[in-house]
């Protein structure tokens, strides 16, 4: 038996795994059948259904022929890495991480970091252009979110603003 549809095969496995995980997790709560549904009842039901569906999808992927094998294709590692990293660094700089005593640097620093890191996800990276873009975005964000909408976001580094 060979895999006829790569996409369906792996999505089936993923769905099955998630279904089993949720169903298994639900058994930790009171299931309590009958008139009074326990907190575990509904998630257990859904998890089991999901696992069954996942199994069917995986099985179909092994049996039903597709034209081109439904390949997953190459992964866009570069954008994936830079977008997610940009996002994480943004959070780190904006709020700091008290557990490792990393100080908060505030919104402006976080915007420069996010813009330049995520810009590396694109096909070309021009430092000057990116810095201009970051400055424009920082000014605009400051005006809309802080001045206009008055959101409570730390703007400057903790050790300067105090």
């Amino acid at each position: 038996m060979s895999i006829k549809s790569q996409k369906d095969f792996f999505s089936g496995l993923l769905i099955m795994a998630m279904g089993i995980a949720f169903a298994w997790g639900a058994t930790a709560y009171d299931v309590d059948e009958g008139a009074s549904m326990g907190p575990g009842y509904f998630p257990l039901m859904l998890g089991v259904l999901m696992a069954i569906l996942g199994a069917i999808i995986t099985f179909k992927a092994l049996v039903v022929e597709t034209k081109d094998g439904d390949k997953i294709g190459s992964w866009a590692w570069k954008p994936l890495f830079f977008i997610i990293t940009g996002n994480l660094v943004f959070g780190l700089l904006l709020g700091g991480l008290p557990s490792i005593k990393f100080p908060a640097f505030g919104l402006i620093a976080a915007i420069y970091a996010l813009t330049s890191i995520s810009a590396m996800a694109g096909e070309e990276f021009k430092l000057k252009e990116v810095l201009i873009l970051a400055t424009v975005l920082a000014t605009m964000s400051y005006l809309t979110f802080i001045v206009l909408l008055k959101l409570q976001i730390p703007v400057w580094p903790q050790f300067i603003a105090g």
């Binding site: 369906d8 009171d30 907190p39 509904f42 999901m50 999808i57 992964w75 954008p79 977008i83 979110f145």
Partner: protein, 503 residues
């Protein structure tokens, strides 16, 4: 005439300067993101949700609604001029729209799309005003069993009309329902699936899921494609006015598109994308008049009909949301989020408890459509310029607005770590061909479904047969079963797959 009294109340609200301003901002933003490929109303509304905290609820909803129907106008501009759907609901407009542009008839194509959208938008809003009241009365007859069955029907509708694999779509709904259950159970007080993380006991934020999966997931997969796959803008817009012959062809097409779009918008799972596909398919089935350009070669009907349909559907999809409190598609699910932010529980009681919001929103749609026709036809030049903005400036800005939006909802960095995780998952979904929209719908409906199921079983002492012995509930379930049977019929299934493949 109640309707007239209600509408005059609505227009009174909608014509206040602040609401006119927000309707305009919404329409402007909607057109903007409609024109720009790679960012849709779903992402934009999710991004702006936290910002609407500060606004009065009516203004917030007026603006968010404007983004949704405004995007339907903007999407066609990109489709016609750049051979690229600016919006997923403009995918079919590309086929004939771009051919017309290549023949130097970009102007009439834009006019057909704009006028069709305007007509359809007005009719759709009228339907919304007319049907919301009787449906609301019906909704008061609903018990928990009926609500549960209605949600089943809604979710099955979403699957049937979604593109791609049926089984996978059902699985995505289940996953959404399960994710919706994360956090403290209202009945027992037990924190479910929260791994002892305090932030998770409040449940996963709706915005976190929407931004991660739709915002980040899509940007990543967009960047994965090569820039060469994007066609450069070449078309020139000279004369907007369609010829007499054009009008003769496009008027019946607009009428057909509007009818179909209004109907499909109300159906659960319908919405703008499905409506435009169906309208194009219908148009292709009708006979060509002698001397008419064939479809795929620049037939004006291939632009007018789907563009009318997606606009009509964008308006009528508010009907189930406003009257029953059940979102028929993912964008409406976000509107539920927007209403709950302002402590308004969507459902039949909205019309009586917040009449100024209900009718104000409806009235604002007419005003919005009037603004849009001006924004999109006489001012088309601005949007054409915008199409020259390179994507490499756009995507870092989108990522930034997503991140700020997520953070400012709860002022919590934990949400930022979570959105990173969902961004990865969202990209995984794209790669594995798993449609994420049903997940969002399930996520919103998860807690509601559980609650209604619990109440039903409590009232019936654990007897499941109430779902089929109560007339209303039974008919809803029969409808759901019928939908499933129809879709599983081999001939229909083949048709359905064809509809989604041809483009």
């Amino acid at each position: 005439m109640d309707l007239i009294a209600n509408l005059s109340l609505g227009f009174g609200v909608a014509f206040s300067p602040i609401n006119l301003l927000y309707a305009f901002i919404g329409c402007l933003l909607g057109t903007l993101i409609g024109v720009l490929p790679g960012i849709g109303p779903l992402t934009t509304i999710a991004m702006l949700l936290p910002a609407t905290y500060a606004l009065p609820p009516v203004s917030a909803l007026i603006m968010l609604a404007g983004i949704y129907y405004g995007a339907q106008y903007g999407g066609s501009t990109t489709a016609i001029l750049v051979n690229l759907p600016g919006e997923s609901s403009s995918v079919v407009t590309v086929i004939d729209g771009y051919q017309m542009a290549r023949q130097g008839r970009a102007g009439p194509a834009l006019a057909a799309a704009g006028l069709g959208s305007f007509f359809a938008g007005c009719v759709g809003t009228l339907m919304l005003a007319a049907f919301a009241v009787p449906l609301t009365e019906l909704a008061f007859k609903f018990g928990p069993a009926e609500y549960f069955s209605l949600m089943i029907l809604g979710l099955i509708g979403a699957v049937v009309l979604a593109s791609g694999s049926l089984l996978k779509a059902v699985a995505m709904i289940l996953l959404g329902l399960l994710l919706g259950l994360v956090g403290t159970d209202v009945n027992s007080g037990i924190a479910r699936f929260s791994f002892d993380i305090p932030e998770l006991t409040d449940g996963i934020g709706f915005i976190v899921i929407a931004m991660g999966i739709f915002g980040y997931g899509e940007i990543i997969s967009n960047l994965g494609k090569h820039e060469s796959e994007r066609e450069v803008f070449t078309a020139e817009v000279k004369d907007l006015m369609p010829t007499k012959e054009d009008f003769r062809n496009m008027i019946p097409a607009i009428l057909r598109g509007t009818t179909l779009g209004s109907l499909l918008g109300i159906l659960p799972g319908g919405g703008a994308v499905m409506a435009s596909y169906a309208a194009y398919t219908w148009e292709k089935k009708t006979k060509l008049r002698p001397g008419e350009v064939p479809f795929g070669k620049g037939n004006i009907r291939g632009v007018a009909s789907p563009e009318s349909a997606n606009n009509a559907a964008a308006q009528t999809s508010f009907i189930p949301l406003l009257s029953l409190g059940i979102p028929p598609n993912a964008v409406m699910a976000l509107m539920v989020g927007a209403m709950t932010i302002h402590n308004i529980q969507p459902g039949p009681q909205v019309m009586t408890s917040n009449p100024e919001m209900f009718w104000g929103l409806i009235a604002s749609m007419w005003i919005g459509n009037a603004m849009l026709i001006i924004l999109n036809l006489p001012l088309i030049g601005i949007w054409i310029k915008l199409l020259t903005v390179p994507y490499r400036w756009l995507f870092p800005s989108i990522v930034l607005f997503c991140a700020i939006g997520v953070y400012s909802t709860n002022n919590s960095t934990f949400d930022i770590w979570l959105v990173g995780l969902f961004g990865f998952i969202g990209y995984l979904f794209v790669k594995l061909g798993m449609e994420p929209a049903p997940l969002l719908l399930g996520f919103i409906l998860g807690p509601m479904m559980e609650e209604n199921l619990r109440r039903t079983l409590l009232l019936s002492h654990g007897d499941w047969s109430v779902f089929v012995t109560r007339g209303l509930s039974a008919s809803l379930l029969v409808l759901a079963a019928l939908l499933l049977v129809i879709i599983l019929f081999p001939s229909v299934r083949k048709k359905r797959e064809e509809t989604f493949i041809e483009d």
